[in-house]
Amino acid sequence: MEHYNMNLTLKIWRQKNKNDKGGFQSFQVKNISSEMSFLEMLDVLNEQLINDNQDPIAFDHDCREGICGMCSLYINGKPHGEWKGNTTCQLHMRAFKDGETVTIEPWRAKAFPVIKDLIVDRSPLDRIIQAGGYISVNTGNAVDGNSLPINKDDADASFAAAMCIGCGACVAACKNSSAMLFLSAKVAHLALLPQGAPERHSRVMNMVAQMDKEGFGACTNTGACEATCPKEISISNIARLNLEYLSASIVAEK
């Protein structure tokens, strides 16, 4: 792999706090190595800003290995940047060319208000999990792990849904700002396992109700979420959620 250096123009959303109106500001960065990660490039910019007595760009990040789900950033019109099945922290600068202009925006959704610059409040996702994204089993209640054999395909499909890192890219990508891919990943993860069966009806009902309450839009099956998901969670999970919902509403008592 040939390494090269590049100069870039960065157009970045700046917003002091939740109540500030915010707007774009442009920056120049020089001699960025193609081996850097995207966030390391922002580190370079921030060092530069601190040296120039300016406020550095605030952005969320933590593990920088693509699993914690903390990093966000809407880069050049796509959540987490251009690479497929990727998070911002794993995006590397060889994806960019010398002289390019890179536009960086926060996740945009009314349910995710901006806290500062590129950082948004994703606590609605936690509250959706609180509404039912769990199996009600207290510590110590468990029986032997092998007492309940689970079909390997189901276990694998459940795992594929459970890989969701809760980053919110699906919301950012969706034209409706819908959290359905996030929601459905959890519903599918638990619905595919026998342990999840006792609560399957109330779970899907309550989680959907919470999503609506948090101010996310409705799903229109455009598929933008699936195309952008860093863990490539399948949109078929949404269909599964719909089925869960439909069957829950059919068997409801009242």
């Binding site: 536009t103 799903c219 455009t222 269909a239 599964r240 089925l243 509403s249």
Partner: protein, 223 residues
């Protein structure tokens, strides 16, 4: 969970769209089948016979009420969903995600639906309304719909509007058909690939046949 809660949730609203959409798709099959009789080359005899059954019999006339209710529900719910969803973003992106992640028509169902609605206004005022008013909105005397078609489709701009309406319908169906089944919970790849293929074929063939009708009259392909 009451029925009201079920159908007013974001998933429930989609269910309403799906159910009414499939109902309208079924109607399209009837409509296109019946209208295809114009190509029988019998001066409209077979077509008018079919049209007579639809217009002068209580059974289809009662179903017609259901059709309108379904259509109105689909339109109102659809428009409300468009505005509901649109209000969820707040500030728009400076750089749009565009077609990188989804098909343009899947994101434009509201627009396509609105074009179809405008076309429908013209379409109903061309055929349905004159006929029903002639009948006194009951089971009265019908007009000769075949002749009416000849007359309406002799005007170029009308033909163009009809063709545009059919194109909109094609794209609307291309997304709507398979999306409805996703909403009903068809998640397995095996069924989904069958349904999306079927939907695509349907979305091409049915609007194409509809579009050929005004064209056939205008260009005199039928006698």
């Amino acid at each position: 969970m009451t029925w009201k809660q079920v159908f007013t949730s974001s998933v429930g609203k989609k269910l309403v769209m799906g159910f009414t959409g499939i109902f309208l798709i079924l109607f399209l099959i009837v409509h296109v089948g019946l209208n295809a009789c114009i190509w029988a080359d019998d001066g409209g005899k077979m077509f008018n016979a079919g049209a007579h059954f639809m217009g002068a019999n209580w059974v289809p006339r009662i179903l017609e009420v259901g059709l309108f209710l379904g259509l109105i529900l689909h339109i109102i719910q659809g428009l409300m969903l468009v505005f509901y969803n649109r209000s969820k973003r707040g500030i728009q992106y400076a750089v749009d995600y565009g077609n990188k992640g989804s098909k343009w028509y899947s994101r434009s169902m509201g627009l396509l639906g609105t074009i179809i609605l405008l076309f429908l206004v013209l379409h109903l005022s061309n055929f349905w309304f004159p006929n029903r008013s002639n009948q006194g909105f009951l089971l009265g005397e019908e007009i000769n719909l075949y002749q009416k078609m000849e007359e309406v489709f002799s005007v170029l701009w009308v033909v163009i509007v009809y063709v545009l309406g059919c194109i909109s319908l094609a794209y609307h169906l291309a997304h709507g058909f398979q999306s409805a089944f996703k909403t009903f919970g068809v998640y397995n790849k095996r069924w989904h690939s069958i349904i999306s293929t079927l939907g695509f074929v349907f979305a091409i063939i049915v609007p194409l046949m509809f579009a050929l009708m005004p064209l056939s009259f205008y260009f005199g392909w039928i006698s």
